[in-house]
């Protein structure tokens, strides 16, 4: 597992998290390249299916990054996103996949450091968890 480099999909809302990611760039704060950002207008736009499909397609981890609580550009989209993340976590548990592979983080537009820190922490966490069991099993099966 030494060489395992997780692929992590980050759904970032335009107004806060995506801007924070840009901010990390402006400040040249490095974070793991494992994190692939998909921009959405609001974290509330992230559908349960999007998260599931990301995992099904082979992501080792997925997180939704939205605005700080109470600061959502669209009032409460981030809270809805959180509910959906919880729903996915419960579902993953049912199919024996670690629910920690999915999570919700929040930050404001200026929090480049926080974005980078979250990216680091989540990458590390997923690295420890190892590859997405579905993907790993399939690769093993193919190899065999």
């Amino acid at each position: 597992m030494k060489d395992f480099e997780p692929v992590i999909v980050a759904f970032c809302c335009h107004y806060c998290a995506y801007t924070a990611a840009d901010m990390a760039g402006s400040k040249r704060i490095a974070y793991p390249a494992n994190v692939k950002i998909i921009r959405v207008p609001c974290s509330g736009k992230v559908d349960t299916i999007h998260i599931m499909k990301a995992l099904e397609n082979g992501a080792d981890g997925v997180y939704v990054a939205g605005c700080l609580e109470g600061d959502c550009h669209f009032k409460n989209g981030n809270l809805r996103a959180l509910q959906r993340v919880k729903q996915v976590q419960a579902l993953l548990e049912e199919i024996c996949i670690e629910p920690e592979r999915v999570e919700m983080v929040t930050m404001s537009a200026g929090m480049g450091e926080r974005f980078a820190k979250a990216a680091f922490e989540i990458t590390e966490k997923i690295r420890k968890l190892g590859p997405n069991p579905s993907k790993a099993a399939m690769e093993k099966a193919k190899a065999a």
């Binding site: 950002i37 959405v40 207008p41 736009k45 349960t48 009032k75 989209g77 537009a109």
Partner: protein, 1030 residues
Amino acid sequence: MQNQNSIQTGKVLVVGGGVGGIRAALDIAESGGDAVLADNAYSIGGLMTQLDRTFPTNNCDLCTLSPHLSESGRELHIELKTMTEVTGIQGAAGAFEVTLKTRPRYIDVQKCTACGECFERFPECVRFTPGLDHRAPTCMRYPQATPWAYSVDMEKCNDPEALEKVCKMGAILPEDRAEETLIEVSAVILAPGASIFDPAHLDHFGKGTYPNVFTSLEYERILSASGPTGGILERPSDGKQPERIAWIQCVGSRGIQKGAASYCSSACCMFATKEAIVTRERFKDDIETVIFYMDMRTSGKDYELYYQRAKNEFGVRFVRCRPHSVVQNPENMNLEISYTQDEKSENITEEFDMAVLSTGFMISEETRKMAEVMGIELNPHGFAETASFTPIETSKPGIFVCGMFESPKDIPETMVQGSAAACKALSIPYRGKPAPDHKLRAPADDAAENQWDDYDEYEEFPPERDVTGETPKVGVFVCDCGYNIGGVINVPEIVDYCKTVAGVETAVAVGHGCSGESQKMMESLIKEHQLNRVVIGGCSPRTHETKFQDMVRRAGLNKYLVEIANIRDQDTWVHGDQPEIAANKAKELIRMAVSRVWLSIPLADHTLPMNKDILVVGGGVSGMTSALALADRGFKVFLAERSPRLGGMAANIRKTLEGEDVRSKVEEMIERTMNHEKIQVMAPAIIVDHAGMPGMFTTGVQSGPQMFYSSIKHGVTILATGALPNRPSEYFLNEHDAVITQLELDERIEDNPESVKNAENVVMIQCVGSRTTDNPNCSRVCCQAAVKNALRIIKINPDARVIVLYRDMRTYGFQEDYYKKAREKGVVFVRYGLEDTPVAEADGDKVNVIFKEPILGVKVSVNADILCLSTGFISDDESTEDLGFIFHLQRTDDGYFLEDHVKLRPVDLPVPGFFVAGTAHAPKNIRESIVQAQAAAGRAQTLLSQDTINLGASVAKVDGKKCAACLICVRACPYSVPYINADGYSEIDPARCHGCGICASECPAKAIQLMQFQDDQILARLDGLFERMN
């Protein structure tokens, strides 16, 4: 007549790039005018960018503000001139010739990408203040400076040649020279702001000598995460976190210290309170906070509540006194503050770890010089001279003022004045040389005869090519962005890779994609290869998406057929030390974009025709001011007033504090309003129903003596419904003839001075019915009214004894001068507390007023001929509630309309297309009401300048066939937009959709898609990412 509507306005020069100037320039630009924004500094932003947080939300509102700032940099109507000052002015309103002098920046702003290379090599001589420079007092959370460019201090540079070579963009210009430009403008707005009082010369406060004494702005920087300590609060003397912090108010204001201004700086009370609250919020009981003050001047909207929260919820201690000195304890470097209080005679000394001086605002020497150049009159304090009914007009026609230069004030008031100044400046017709491109769009009564066609589009776009049915042909253009991208990854290699990605027709490296040449190259490649989809590998879409959208439009493609892969901000900038990883990620990001753009479809921005008529509700001074401002610009205005006559509350006022005759001004205004051909006055009129959206509202009004119903169609609504004079049944008001209100006293002094002349004793009681449980806020105008009437009584009868019983004297700004004058003239001001309120007893035709003399501590009884109660305002609760229901507007707890954003959008209401002015917003005086009314007219014009309303393309669409009418979207939408239509499925009005997509992701039938972010497009990105696995 109608063609005269199209006033030709020239450019407007805005001097000063703080929030006020930016607001003014933006409003001008949004109204279709052109502004030149000149600022002395390297980048715009002014004082506000130095604030960590602002009240009342205690948020850093700069995130909300930042779109404004970058907008002003990008906005085609605004020419930004930094490092520039005004050196001369010729001509008159409508045709000024202004000379501007720009100091050399040594950087070509157009070429500079703020890559930072030069700064890295020559930190001593390169300046950049986007919030990244630890030396700069700029907020960290604000990610962009405008302009987004460096500047160079050439004097500090030893090797200009080497410096020049550092820049791959060739943006460094060692030979840059100061430049003088002559511009022709029709109006000028002065928004130079103010500087902060420097307390260094005040030995008794020790600023500059004691390390632990700060000014309030310095303290703000310390609290800020981007400040000199990185947000760590510690004492410079020993690096310890302070346990006790004191604020000392009125440093440099109210004539307290040597060199201090005599006026009140207006904003410091709230500033200090906010700093104390933020400190308590963050450190809880670890830090004790004490504010030493003379009068707590929290008279703004809901400010009193904030003050109460500071006291009661956050445990900030407020001590009324004048500290006479701050002495440093040499052993522990603590600060001993000594003071005496009214009630107790002994001298008290308290020890603090840190002291913050609430320093006031001053007009700088530079600003005075600028005013001299402009030829405008200044008041004795060096501020621009204005009058109550022309509050932002300087002595020179065509030159307007906003913000601090008019008088000391806080951010919302500055914002209001910025909008008002824009409105006034736009009302000056251009009289200079014919310049057709300076035509301003005006209401089109007769369909405008297409006369603005050439104006609508700055760039002519060719017709869009119809790409439906074509197989997607994707062109990938990869920027190197100088070192930014090209310095990390090998762009040609990336380009070669892109060519191998499925669906890519061609891939090309384009250097700086945002540069003119590259844009042209891409345009021709698109045409040459008949591309129908475009991917740009470059910087963040947040920066240049519009630019690339315009580029594909010029190439004949719909603007939504371009997709940007953020390979700079989110790749090379963060993986600069791992080129290989960065290159891989760049490939992935481009692949994701290609996969996504494959599914892009042409979208049309949603537009609606704009109805340019305006409904103004309320015919007082505010309503008339708004109506006249708009009608003068040629807009049709419906003015609905509830009572049969215009004039509102001001019709009952005789004089302002400054002595201006209110009645004649109001009469003049009524006359003009009634006879204005563009204003239809409806009085009496009552609003009964309302529907529609901004640009096409329909409001039902019943008007005339018969209350006849008619429907008015209008594009925007201005609410100026006013407040009511409060009349609480206290102190025998309405029962005893000797007891009257300030309004009545004002009238009596003017209309029947004899009745006042013989009064020996006049007692005034402040805060009757204000700052109470029932009406918790301050009525703002009573202190000035008391001072005004007291001075007038003394004038009529110099022997009269006038006693004002007050809680805090809130004579903010220049009113302080009158307060001082009243004291000099012998008016007695006696403070009372809530624990010991004055008592009145009827005594024949007089009233005995009994109150406690705080210094002596004894009860005093005065036999008053007149007991005048300062009853102030109370909201017109029933009316605002009624209108709130009809218009779906929010109100504050005390019944005033709630604005969209207390700080940054104080005139806009949360429902788009609605604006508020005057006392319907909060208690204010005539001058402030007029400013806000002008601002409302200005804000309204920003909407009205559009012929159509562009709603963007990112709206939710329902597939009626799939919809199960489950109501989930109806319930989930944060804006209550979806509804189940007559056909039984959900319908989303694109005009009201905000584009968040929450409904789309909640829909259990997957019947809703958010355009631009359709599910398949999002999933396509995943496909692009995982291509190598699947």
